[in-house]
């Protein structure tokens, strides 16, 4: 019974060690984002490991099915993509061993590493999932990779997400979430408790309010927060969803940002303001530190921090499900994947203007074919409309062997020379 979430134990070990290390070595007022992020992550991991040891069902989920939806069950929700990438970020050799296991099993090298990691862990018998759930979004990798879990005899519950942003899509997807939760309930032998879920959604709403305030504060020159806020926000979205730790994290971040804003202070000697229309890099968290300190480039936002949705109305069950669908379909990456770029480009140009960015950096991730047309179209639009350059880096954001951190840094360094 005890060995059902071994990768979470590995994660806990590295998170605790890293936390202790930065806490002891780094001066108190430095790296506060990282410290606060690790502290809250550690709490969530400890809680989940304990619940797994108590025998609660392990529910694997795609990040596009927000974890708070699963809080209607007494369970241990494990994010497939988040686990692959948090291990990629924190283990010395990342998730490479697991990527290789599944690649040797036949998974194509060009398919997303965010799923590869946990697929490899399943081959290595490290997770004992009771059920896995995923929407049919955002990308080919998702519908292509998840049937593997079914092949490995793990029940797979799929909710069908329409690929178009219309009112009818939200209604349809709301129904799909309901059906999906009821199917999961049958598999794990529990009735979904929507009151519990409501509490979780309310926590999320609280956190969203803080995130929105933070979003506004980051427009300040200089930016009051370290670039590390971006990968930490991704981790919070996945590992702390629907939990008080997320509120705690953002309350602290907001208080910190406000304090600095008032004093016109920044942890970065900001010379270049950058926006990342897509993700930052997961296989090397230290990149953010390097950008702040060496390049003096602030990362104002990435897809996880500019992509904010509306709160969920919890006043009735129908409204709740409808808004849950709306939220899921407007989640980072999902939103862009299921719409055309006719909307994305003007929206992004506006954000760039509002944040007074000097440049953009697009990490063109090997897995994300659903973004296949955007880097060049966006580059042209930013250049033509704002005179702002966009650096495009071909990369696997979770596997350093595709484009190493040295290559990434060299490219950024060269690029910044053209800016200063």
């Amino acid at each position: 019974m005890k060995e059902r979430v071994i990768p979470y134990k590995m994660l806990l070990e590295v998170v605790s060690n890293s936390y202790e290390l930065v806490w002891r070595i780094v001066p108190e007022h430095e790296m506060q984002v990282l410290k606060m992020g690790l502290k809250n992550l550690e709490k969530c991991l400890i809680d989940n490991i304990q619940k797994a040891e108590e025998g609660l069902p392990i529910i694997g989920y795609h990040f596009a099915c927000p974890a708070e939806f699963l809080h209607c069950f007494d369970c241990v929700p494990i994010c497939i993509e988040g686990t692959s990438y948090l291990l990629a970020a924190l283990l010395p050799n990342g998730s490479e061993k697991y990527y290789d296991l599944i690649t040797h099993w036949g998974h194509p090298y060009h398919t997303c590493s965010s799923q590869k990691g946990v697929m490899g862990m399943v081959l290595d018998d490290l997770f004992k999932f009771d059920v896995i759930t995923t929407p049919t979004a955002p990308c080919d990798n998702t519908y292509a990779s998840y049937p593997f879990f079914k092949y490995k005899d793990i029940p797979l519950v799929i909710t069908d997400m329409p690929f178009i942003h219309e009112e009818k899509s939200y209604e349809f997807y709301a129904e799909q979430i309901k059906i999906g939760l009821s199917e999961i309930g049958k598999i794990i032998g529990q009735e979904p408790d929507f009151d519990k879920m409501k509490k979780s959604l309310e926590i999320e709403n609280q956190s969203l309010k803080l995130e929105l305030e933070l979003f506004e504060l980051k427009k300040a020159i200089p930016c009051p927060l370290e670039s590390m806020i971006n990968p930490m926000s991704a981790a919070a979205a996945v590992f702390m969803a629907g939990r008080p730790e997320k509120v705690d994290f953002y309350e602290n971040m907001l208080a910190l940002a406000k304090k600095r804003y008032k004093k016109k202070e920044s942890p970065i000697e900001e010379q270049i303001r950058s926006i990342w229309p897509y993700m930052t890099i997961f296989f090397d968290l230290a990149l953010c530190e390097w950008l702040d300190r060496e390049i003096k480039m602030s990362v104002l936002l990435d897809i996880f921090t500019y992509n904010l949705y509306n709160p969920v109305d919890t006043s009735s069950e129908d409204k709740m499900f409808n808004d849950m669908a709306r939220k899921a379909m407007n989640f980072p990456m999902i939103k862009q994947s299921i719409e055309f770029y006719d909307d994305f480009i003007p929206e992004f140009i506006n954000i760039t203007k509002e944040f007074k960015a000097d440049c953009g950096i697009f990490t063109s991730h090997l897995g994300c074919k659903q973004f296949g047309s955007i880097p060049q179209l966006l580059r042209e639009a930013l250049r033509d409309e704002l005179g702002i350059p966009l650096l495009i880096i071909d990369i696997d954001v979770g596997d350093k062997r595709f484009a190493s951190i040295k290559t990434v840094k060299d490219k950024i360094r060269m690029f910044t020379k053209t800016l200063l």
Binding site: W105, G106, H107, P108, H110, T111, C112, T136, A137, C139, D140, N141, T142, Y143, A144, S145, Y146, P147, F148, K150, Y151, L156, I158, D160, M161, P162, F163, I164, K168, S169, F172, E175, Q176, I179, S337, F340, Y341, D342, S364, L366, G367, C368, K369, Q370, F371, G372, S373, I374, P375, Q376, L377, D394
Partner: protein, 380 residues
């Protein structure tokens, strides 16, 4: 071979053809589409000629490479490249659904760049609808509603009336077409197949590029010609070819010239298109939608791998297959992962299987040939 030099099959070697030109000369429209989840019957009933987007014979991707990331499948980059060079300027409309990420993203570049090029002044309307990724009752209702809306849009944009009568007539023509293709397929899986895999592919590609009433006449003729022929008698390994899109002969020829005969397939231009018919009776648009939605799926349907595997297993028996070649175009995650599972499942059944990756524009011929020859030798 009986079909060698049949002028009709040459249609499959080019993009535009004389039938399209004649169609447009009579003031009728041609609509490019992608891919098999499009209800062809609906377009035909609207007097629109459905032309399936492909890049047959086009050997360049440079222009496509500028606009799409290099992780995009080379078939899509080649199609886009061809489009940017004017290869699809003859289209009067463009219709896609969410088939795969690559083609969906190509669609927006068609809109922004191809049909927006300097000097290209034709207005080419675009149409899109969303197809569910799983097969369920709710999914069907969604799909059918999308098709109803598509019908209304087509009627408005092209100023046509799509009546039940025209839909019923279209169903008849398309059912007849599928029946003829099934008959040809039966000749393909005989002990002494009457046609090669290359010829079957040519028939399938031509079938997607000209009006169905015309091709039906040609298929009758071809069918007759094939029945009368001797069939292929030399002993060759009987192969089933599975995976990413193949719309030209090079790769198929590579396999067949290595000592194999492709007697069946599970390809976009292949068997999947003619297995099932539209039921007659009831609401014709609903029946059309039912066939398309419930047809034997491709890997974009996430919950249907078992049915695809069952088809493979049945076909391996029926067509007396000696070995299966699974192939994917690099970066095609859908077929890559479906093939990964097929490989394990077929090996568990002790069916010889080769799983390879390739590019749409064939470059590494020697490597592929070596692997294919070694595989064929290995088959007892």
């Amino acid at each position: 071979m009986s079909l060698q030099n049949d002028p009709f099959l040459n249609i499959s070697n080019s993009i535009n053809n004389q039938y399209i030109k004649e169609w447009q000369a009579s003031k009728k429209k041609v609509i490019g589409y992608y891919c098999t989840y499009i209800p062809e019957e609906l377009l035909y009933a609207a007097n629109l000629l459905p032309f399936r987007i492909r890049a047959t014979g086009h050997e360049k991707t440079e222009l496509g490479d500028i606009l799409m990331v290099r992780f995009t499948c080379s078939f899509v980059r080649a199609s886009l490249d061809l489009a940017l060079r004017g290869g699809f300027d003859f289209l009067d409309g463009y219709l896609i659904c969410n088939s795969c990420d690559h083609t969906r993203r190509m669609f927006e570049i068609f809109n922004m760049k191809v049909f927006n090029r300097e000097g290209f002044n034709k207005k080419v309307p675009r149409f899109y609808f969303s197809v569910p990724h799983i097969i369920s009752e709710e999914g069907f209702s969604w799909y059918w509603q999308e098709i109803i809306e598509l019908k209304e849009e087509l009627e408005t944009v092209y100023n046509v009336d799509i009546t039940d009568n025209s839909l019923e007539n279209s169903i008849k023509v398309h059912n007849e077409n599928r029946k003829l293709l099934r008959e040809i397929h039966r000749l393909r899986i005989l002990e002494n197949p009457k046609l090669s895999g290359a010829e079957a592919l040519q028939i399938s590609v031509a079938n997607s590029s000209i009006p169905k009433d015309i091709i039906n006449q040609e298929l009758h003729r071809i069918n007759y010609k094939l029945k009368e022929s001797e069939g292929i008698k030399d002993l060759r390994k009987r192969i089933m070819l599975v995976g990413s899109i193949i719309d030209d002969l090079k790769f198929v020829n590579l396999i067949e010239n290595s000592g194999a005969l492709i007697v069946s397939d599970f390809l976009c231009f292949g068997t999947r298109n003619f297995l099932d018919d539209v039921q007659i009776g009831g609401n014709p648009l609903e029946q059309i939608s039912k066939r398309v939605y419930h047809r034997l799926s491709c890997p974009r349907m996430m919950d249907d791998h078992e049915r695809r595997l069952k088809f493979l297993k049945d076909e391996i028996k029926t067509a007396k297959i000696d070995g299966v070649i699974l192939q994917r175009i690099n970066n095609c995650d859908l077929h890559g992962c479906d093939n990964m599972l097929f490989e394990h499942e077929l090996k568990e059944l002790e069916i010889p299987v080769l799983n390879i990756d390739r590019e749409y524009i064939q470059a590494d011929t020697t490597r592929l040939q070596t692997r294919i020859e070694a595989f064929l030798e290995m088959i007892k």
